[in-house]
């Protein structure tokens, strides 16, 4: 049974810096739920959006180097927390099902990729391999009394033929996890809308407009916090929240958690492993609300 929950793990570059908090809390939660994550040795960058906007074979080759490394690990699946990495790894695998494409990709590699593994998000593994019952059972401190807006971002479930998990227009996997953890989960209509993605540096106006819309609706719906599963979304909504406020003359003050951080809180894990202090918009007030359910009920 336990070997079924052993995966080749691909953290992704942002996990080493901008989303260290996602990375640590993911590992903590997975371990608490009995999953074994074995890092792909010497993994390299998947090329993210820049690579596939340059060329599809190049992009697939940057992903395939990692898939090939994972093939020697004796596991069935590659797991990644990051939707952008997920898209690249999955699209590479999907396109390499065609022999011509696979040949072109392997021509760029030192070690060919057989394309024998499946890739999934940590979110998918939690829902399908671990299961809701086991997650609910393991809760020590229910997230009672906080309202959260689940925000998946555009890439986690789209396009459906490639991602092959949950609904592309109205995904519910994160909603279900947050519900199992005891939170009051809002039916957030913009859950798959784009946050502006990687335009933060080159075209800030795009991010301000799109992320501003997301924060605005979450606040208007009465959310205490936004919950994300994507490092880029989290950065745009959290780190850039002050920029968004300045440009839109707004006063947003919404903490933006990774779902794994809230899961860690609910499972009663050591807060130091969840790196909550890395969040730019302070989460303490919301977390305090959880600790005092009576006060929150008023």
């Amino acid at each position: 049974m336990s070997s079924e929950l052993t995966y080749a793990y691909y953290p992704g570059c942002s996990g080493l810096s901008t989303s260290l908090d996602y990375e640590r809390s993911t590992r903590a939660v997975c371990s608490a739920l009995g999953m074994t994550l074995k890092d792909i040795p010497d993994w390299s960058c998947c090329g993210s959006t820049p690579a596939h906007t340059v060329d599809h074979v190049l992009s697939a080759a940057l992903s395939a180097r990692n898939l090939a490394l994972a093939e020697s690990m004796g596991v069935q699946s590659v797991l990644t927390p990051c939707p952008s990495c997920l898209t690249n790894l999955k699209v590479a695998g999907h396109r390499m099902e065609k022999d011509d494409f696979k040949k072109e990709v392997n021509a760029l590699l030192d070690h060919p990729c057989a394309n024998s593994l499946t890739t999934k998000s940590v979110l998918q593994a939690l829902v399908q391999d671990v299961g809701m019952d086991k997650i609910a059972e393991r809760v020590r401190k229910p997230l009672k009394g906080i309202k959260v807006a689940p925000y998946y971002g555009c890439l986690m479930n789209r396009p459906p033929e490639v991602m092959d998990f949950d609904d592309p227009e109205n995904p519910v996997s994160m909603d279900r996890i947050l519900q199992a953890l005891g939170a009051d989960v809002l039916d957030f209509p913009l859950k798959v809308e784009c946050c502006g993605g990687s335009f933060g540096v080159a075209r800030k106006d795009v991010v301000v407009h799109l992320s501003g819309k997301l924060l605005g609706l979450a606040r208007d719906m009465g959310a205490d916090a936004v919950v994300t599963a994507c490092p880029l979304c989290q950065m745009n909504l959290d780190l850039r929240q002050s920029q968004i406020n300045a440009h839109l003359k707004e006063t947003f003050n919404l903490p933006v958690f990774y779902y794994t951080q809230l899961a860690g809180v609910a499972l009663g894990l050591d807060p130091d492993h969840l790196l909550l202090k890395k969040l730019v918009v302070k989460p303490w007030k919301v977390l305090h609300k959880i600790q005092e359910p009576e006060a929150a009920a008023v």
């Binding site: 060329d55 940057l62 555009c154 800030k204 795009v206």
Partner: protein, 186 residues
């Protein structure tokens, strides 16, 4: 809206090339507008995505490759997900960018420069070094980082590694990119 003289400006080689590289059939588009309706970046596009599709059917290479839209597409996959004719529109947008890049049409220099800086970092270290990427971007665009006010927030929280993570196989990664560059991809 300007008129298009189809008799003199239609470039069927262009249509075929886009169809081949994207493995999509542009003629399936019947202009329902679903792609544009869901496109988050339509507000900064000079040509909405359904019109890109129509111009593609009409072989309007110059207009399309010279547009800002193809560089501002967020690759969010909304158009692909919603097209009733199952056209992978986002893939077509990607291919149009590839062509624009190869043929020297760059209407959004900063976007291209950011992507180049990113890949340069991957080529050098095997993994992207975010701070290095941003610094290279600043140096190349000659613009002081407009995000400078975020610096203290980022650094105080250790949110950006200040040193690159070089991997053992960085040569292998570098070779992937070099082999690609040495390839004459059509």
């Amino acid at each position: 809206m300007e008129c298009i003289r189809l008799d003199s400006s239609i470039n069927s080689g262009f249509i075929d090339q886009v169809a081949r590289e994207s493995e999509q059939d542009p003629y399936l588009c019947y202009q329902c507008g679903n792609c544009t309706a869901g496109c988050p970046n339509n507000f900064v596009y000079d040509i909405p995505v359904h019109r890109i599709m129509r111009l593609l059917q009409a072989g309007q290479k110059e207009t399309i490759l010279g547009s800002h839209s193809i560089w501002l597409c967020a690759t969010c996959e909304s158009c692909t997900t919603r097209c009733p004719n199952n056209i992978d529109v986002a893939r077509i947008m990607d291919v149009l960018r590839h062509m624009a890049r190869r043929e020297g049409y760059v209407t959004e220099k900063r976007v291209k420069q950011f992507n180049d800086s990113f890949l340069h970092s991957v080529q050098k270290h095997g993994r992207v070094f975010e701070l290095g990427t941003v610094m290279r971007f600043v140096a190349r665009t000659g613009r002081f980082w407009t995000d400078v006010e975020l610096g203290p927030k980022v650094l105080a929280r250790g949110k950006m590694a200040t040193r690159a993570h070089n991997i053992q196989g960085k040569e292998q990664v570098s070779k992937i990119i070099n082999r690609f560059l040495g390839d004459e991809r059509k």
